[in-house]
């Protein structure tokens, strides 16, 4: 009898136990399907938010080039994640290849999900319309949205001077290879960091945020600062966002989407008490993580406000930093602990952002390395301190400071080196950065041949020289750039550097 028949039978004759079990099983699968579907819908807001956030932070001459990065992230990460990213997660959880008779053990699915590895291949039945499988497709989509997020984290840091195509290549590497490898290792039930070291990063402080931040740092070191970001004495100059309201609204949208992100990090299994599991298949509740994220925002906003002395941008970024700082232990932290730790995370982000910009002289346009990178690693470290002994995963391996440190030591090079290496190669091929003339004029005119506020006259940027004269900024900055970088204009083949 069909499931529909079993429902109708309720009005006629009493159903058998088997019929009820089949109905409950089907309902549970559909509940899971709906749950992940709606988390995906909510997580779209993260990308709406990143687009608004970064576009607002950009100057008027770089609006659409900034927004287009966020949009095309979806265009390139989706197919690449489908064709090989998901397979990495499904099949590479044991880690690096070992030597000996079991040398192929690194390529296998988790014990808890027999057949999962095979199901992640793009040609498998689980990756298409399949009436027997309600869950695989939506579970894949939730991970896909995480992948977009890693790309969007990087995109804000590199705005206003990176080539769109360079960003897209880098975001493919980050979103469809780097982050998903670390997720396989430390954010799965079968990952070697989990099964051997009890690594615990429940809501992805490090595996999403920290890794994206470390990757972005590697890219920024090769990309260099925007022209004019630092004066001749090396002091940082703050570029005025063209629309601060849009930036703040974008952050609020990101926060809204984070509720979907947090929820999607859990596994729902309504037929087994307590109904929810974290990504390591340890029991959890949706209420606990929702509590943590809300209290985390409160603590982070507060920390960011005081550390920045009320700066709006850093107050909201502090909220994000606060949540990221408590995400790793969001399934087990007491709300008061989350509040206190998030407060410290908000402060840490401001301090780290200031240090990165003023001491290291790295031009991170939106503070992504500080907020996501530094606080992502910080969040994992906090779990080692405040949640030591918690039995993680199906093997109940206790959380330890050493295990968390092992994860950090594994993931920093895993993220930083590909970001640095790939951007170095693009730089050598002259494919990383736009020509300086284009950067000074604005990327929108080169990429799209139009101004995206056509009804408003474009006012040239000016700069005040040491003698007090106010002059047009572009020629001064171009001369300074040419002098500092030994740059000479090239031919139609592109700029070249003088010998």
């Amino acid at each position: 009898m069909s499931s529909l028949g079993s429902v109708l039978a309720l009005f006629g004759q009493a159903p058998t136990v088997e019929e009820l079990q089949a109905q409950v099983s089907l309902d549970s699968q559909i509940l899971t399907e709906q749950f992940y579907f709606f988390t995906v819908v909510i997580m779209w807001l993260i990308h709406v938010g990143f687009m608004a956030y970064e576009t607002g932070a950009a100057r008027r001459k770089n609006l659409m080039s900034t927004a287009m990065k966020n949009i095309l992230t979806i265009a390139v990460v989706t197919p690449t994640f489908y064709y090989f990213g998901w397979y990495i997660y499904g099949c590479f959880q044991p880690g690096f290849p070992s030597v000996g008779p079991d040398s192929l053990d690194w390529h296998s699915g988790p014990e808890a999900f027999p057949g999962f590895c095979e199901a992640t291949a793009p040609w498998s039945a689980a990756m298409g319309p399949n009436l027997q499988d309600h869950v695989s497709a939506v579970f894949f989509l939730a991970f896909l949205l995480f992948s977009w997020t890693t790309g969007s984290i990087m995109s804000g840091a590199v705005i206003e001077r990176i080539r769109l195509s360079a960003y897209l290549l880098l975001t493919v590497l980050l979103g469809s290879a780097v982050w998903i490898t670390d997720a396989a290792w430390g954010w799965s039930s079968g990952g070697w960091l989990v099964t051997k070291f009890g690594f615990h990063d429940a809501i992805a402080s490090l595996v999403v945020h920290g890794v994206a931040g470390a990757f972005a740092l590697g890219v920024l070191l090769n990309l260099g600062p925007r022209i004019g970001k630092f004066d001749m004495q090396g002091r940082a100059r703050a570029f005025r966002p063209h629309n601060t309201h849009m930036t703040l609204m974008g952050l609020m949208l990101i926060f809204t989407g984070f509720y979907g992100f947090y929820a999607a990090c859990l596994v729902i299994q309504s037929t087994i008490s307590p109904g929810w599991l974290n990504i390591y298949l340890s029991p959890a509740t949706l209420g606990a993580i929702a509590f943590t994220i809300t209290v985390g925002f409160a603590g982070g906003f507060t920390g960011g406000w005081f550390a920045s002395r009320g700066d709006p941008f850093w107050t909201l970024s502090g909220g994000l930093a606060g949540v990221i700082s408590v995400s790793a232990g969001a399934d087990i932290y007491h709300p008061s602990l989350s509040y206190i730790l998030a407060f410290s995370g908000g402060i840490l982000a401001v301090w780290a952002g200031t240090y990165i910009e003023k001491k290291l002289r790295v031009d991170d346009a939106v503070g992504a390395v500080a907020v996501h990178g530094v606080c992502g690693f910080y969040g994992v470290l906090l779990v080692g301190i405040f949640a030591g002994g918690y039995p993680t995963g199906i093997n109940s391996v206790p959380v330890s400071f050493g295990g968390q440190l092992m994860g950090m030591l594994a993931f920093f090079p895993l993220a930083f080196l590909p970001g640095f290496g790939a951007s170095w190669i693009l730089k050598k091929l002259n494919l990383l950065r736009v020509p300086p003339e284009v950067e000074l004029e604005g990327l929108d005119m080169a990429e799209f041949q139009q101004d995206f506020y056509p009804e408003f006259e474009r006012v040239p940027e000016t700069i005040v020289l040491p003698d007090g004269q106010e002059v047009e900024a572009a020629p001064v900055l171009f001369e300074s750039f040419a002098e500092a970088s030994n740059f000479t204009a090239g031919t139609a083949a592109g700029p070249r550097r003088s010998p």
Binding site: G128, L164, A238, V434, P435, E441, V459, E479, G494
Partner: protein, 93 residues
């Protein structure tokens, strides 16, 4: 009666259907390869098309003298960029 619909039969028929055949079939592999070709080609095209645009614009700017040597101009309605002003990255001393 809705319960008389042959739902189970439909389910079996539909479950057996797969675009270009069941999983792991030649047709599915061909579709996968075609998709990967499109993916790689689009990535290459993004690079080439943008390089062409940027080179053309840079050449235009150089040739048109749009970036002349610095010279004093009368203060206009625009804003000067002070060394450390702005809301974004300076939390203060």
């Amino acid at each position: 009666m809705i319960d008389s619909f042959p739902f189970d039969e439909w389910t079996d028929d539909i479950a057996a259907y797969w675009t270009f055949g069941p999983e792991n079939s030649t047709g599915t592999y061909i579709l996968t390869v075609l998709g990967i070709i499109l993916m790689v080609a689009s990535l290459i095209a993004f690079v080439l098309l943008e390089r062409r645009k940027l080179d053309a614009q840079a050449q235009l700017l150089r040739g048109g003298g749009i970036l002349p040597p610095a010279s004093p101009t009368a203060p206009g309605p625009g804003f000067a960029e002070p060394p450390l002003a702005g809301p974004s990255t300076d939390p203060g001393p």
